[in-house]
Amino acid sequence: MAVPILKQGPFLIASIQAALTDTDVMRLQDDVMVQVGRFRSRGIVVDVTALDVMDSFVSRSLRGIAHMTRLRGAETVIVGIQPEVAFAMVQLGMNFEDVHTALDLEEGLAFLRQRIDREPDAGGG
C-alpha cells in the first residue's frame, strides 16, 4: 500500500498508515525524493505512529530518506516511534543517531519550522 504524502506549506508529511512491506518502503523513498523536488520542500515529516515493527530494513530505509533529502536541502524528521518499537530498535543495534526524531507530528513540524526560521533564506521559489 502506498504511503500518502501531503504538502503543507514548505513541508511534506508522509503518514504511514499500516505495516509496510519492503516494496512499500522503497516506493516511499522514491516518492519523497520526487515530491521534494516538485514542491521545493524544506522539510519532511515521516509519521511512523502506525508501525508496530521497525526492523533493520525499514530503519535503514528511513535513515536513507533522511540522508538523501538532506542532500537536496530538506531536513527529515521521523515522528511517532512507539515505545516498544524504540526498545526493539535499540536491542537490534540500529544506529539512528544522525536522524532527527520527534515525539509526534506536532513536535516534528515545530522542529522543522524552527530550523527554517534559523536559516538564511535560501531564495528558492
Binding site: P83, E84, Q91
Partner: protein, 136 residues
C-alpha cells in the same frame, strides 16, 4: 491443556514476511506475552524471514506454542533450502553482510529473543529456531 494450532507461513515475497510476524503476534498475544515482547518477537521474525527472501528466495516460517516449566512461549522455525551460510561465525557478527543490509539481521534477531539456534549446511539450507517465553 489446549494449545493453539501450529501455523505455517510460506515465505516467498516481502508481504509474506509481514504475514508471518502478524501471525506470531496473534499467537503470542493469546499466550499473554507483553506488548514489548510481542514487538521484539515480531521484529526478530522480520529479520530471519527477510534472510529467506534475500538469500534463499523462498522458505517457510513455522510457529507453535511450546511449554517448559510452567511457562509458555512462541517457537518460530524459519527454514529454507537455500545456499546455506558459509561462515556462521562471521554471519553472527554485527555489521557483517554479503547482501545489501546492515548486517544486523541475525545478530540483532538473537538479541531480541530468549532462545536462538541456527543450523546451516552449505548447499542444503538454513534453519533458525527462535523462542520467546512469557515472563514467569
Amino acid at each position: 491443556m489446549p494449545v493453539a494450532g501450529d501455523v505455517r507461513v510460506a515465505i516467498r515475497t516481502d508481504a509474506d514476511v509481514v504475514t508471518a510476524r502478524q501471525e506470531a503476534r496473534t499467537m503470542g498475544a493469546e499466550l499473554g506475552l507483553s506488548s514489548t515482547d510481542l514487538t521484539l518477537l515480531a521484529t526478530a521474525i522480520s529479520e530471519v524471514a527477510r534472510n529467506i527472501t534475500t538469500y534463499a528466495g523462498e522458505g517457510e516460517v513455522a510457529l507453535r506454542v511450546v511449554e517448559r516449566g510452567g511457562r509458555r512461549g512462541v517457537e518460530v522455525v524459519a527454514s529454507d533450502e537455500g545456499p546455506g551460510i558459509a561462515d556462521l561465525e562471521l554471519a553472527m557478527q554485527d555489521g557483517y553482510t554479503t547482501g545489501k543490509g546492515l548486517g544486523l539481521g541475525l545478530p540483532g534477531a538473537r538479541r531480541l529473543v530468549d532462545e536462538f539456534e541456527l543450523r546451516t549446511a552449505l548447499g542444503s539450507g538454513t534453519s533458525i529456531r527462535l523462542v520467546k517465553w512469557t515472563r514467569a
